[in-house]
Assembly symmetry: C2
Homo-oligomer: 193 residues x 2
DNA sequence: ACTAAGGCGAGACAAACTGTACCATCTCTG
DNA sequence: CAGAGATGGTACAGTTTGTCTCGCCTTAGT
């Protein structure tokens, strides 16, 4: 037997080169710029090689998204009050949205509407952030920091929704002040005091 | 002189035919399906004619979006309490998002990130809904239905954001129950009672 | 180090798509 | 009715897409 595709260093090398090029193209020119031709040129790789790795253009984008799924947020220290913990998490998310991740997300939103696979990838990708937030909120409820009848899912939507709205639709920069005002306004009614 | 392009019925006829076809293509196959070739075939119009009306593909989409900018919402009756008025408006918006307008919006979000003209059109298009909502909220503040120190812009974001989040990112259907829970949770702390 | 398996580079190729030009025909305006 | 102009249909060159082949190079196992 020969080397497995997943361990062959030659395959991995060209694959990384091509994905780097594709990520750059996506960030600079949007999904339509990610073609086999462009990726090959940008990566210094034969066009046929790009086709060998990904028969369809959508496959390139999917791999790109799965690769960039490192949207992992650190759970903040538990010592802080719930407001600070939530604000910290949302600030990290807001920062990520401001960079390349925001552009990638825009691209995915536009693609996911008509491509089931991209839609599934988007679902998987966007689940990470909210899940951590829901865990934080659920912990807050359990600890009595939030009202016992709090609807955690809805509260998570109400915290994340405005950030996506301003970033994706309004193309606004998400300032720290905005996030803090949002957290304060959304969370304070649920606080016991 | 001959007829103006804007009043010539021949021009208007083919233009409407092509825009109808383009709208159908956009809804069924996304922005990439809207090509001069496809629009011509779908509209039963010569390909050259499509080029005569719009030299670039982006121009077709822009006209499509400006045409579909009839996202006008009726201001609800003033007799109802502020919660009901807001809920009514958001329910109308949620309904619109569930149909073709939602798909169009998805497409625009994906395009606006890399196309300044589409971005401007999106801004114009998405300003209508929030503006009416802000007016409703401002009227509520003025009438004493909402706390005097209410941040109207932020409150509007907090009402609209979750809807966009669930529709565009999670691909969920926006149920009436969800909208009502959202309005109740978001608005109740600002009510005077 | 040697060898066989297999990925890669380079090019050829047909097919489809893009953008433009031309002209005969049809429609609108006055 | 007549002229201006828009459309249909076709032709054309240039580009892009997808597939294939062949010789070279890297890799894994001996």
């Amino acid at each position: 037997m020969k080397a497995d595709k997943k361990t062959n260093p030659q395959v991995q090398r060209t694959r990384e080169l091509m994905l780097d090029a594709a990520a750059d193209l996506l960030s600079r020119g949007g999904p339509e710029a990610v073609t086999h031709l462009h990726v090959g040129e940008e990566a210094g790789v034969a066009r046929a090689t790009v086709y060998r790795h990904w028969p369809n253009r959508a496959d390139i984008l999917l791999d790109l998204l799965h690769r960039g799924a490192s949207m992992d947020f650190e759970p903040p220290s538990v010592d802080l009050p719930i407001e600070k913990r939530v604000a910290e998490g949302l600030l990290a998310a807001a920062g990520a949205l401001g960079g390349a991740a925001g552009r990638t997300l825009s691209a995915m939103v536009g693609l996911a509407e008509w491509d089931a696979e991209v839609s599934a990838a988007l679902e998987q990708l966007t689940e990470a952030g909210p899940r951590l937030l829901r865990q934080m909120l659920a912990a807050g409820v359990e600890a009595g920091e939030l009202a016992a009848d709090t609807d955690v899912d809805l509260l998570a939507d109400r915290l994340i929704g405005p950030l996506f709205l301003r970033r994706l639709l309004y193309h606004d920069v998400l300032t720290d002040a905005y996030v803090e005002r949002l957290v304060a306004a959304t969370l304070s009614p649920h606080l016991p005091n």
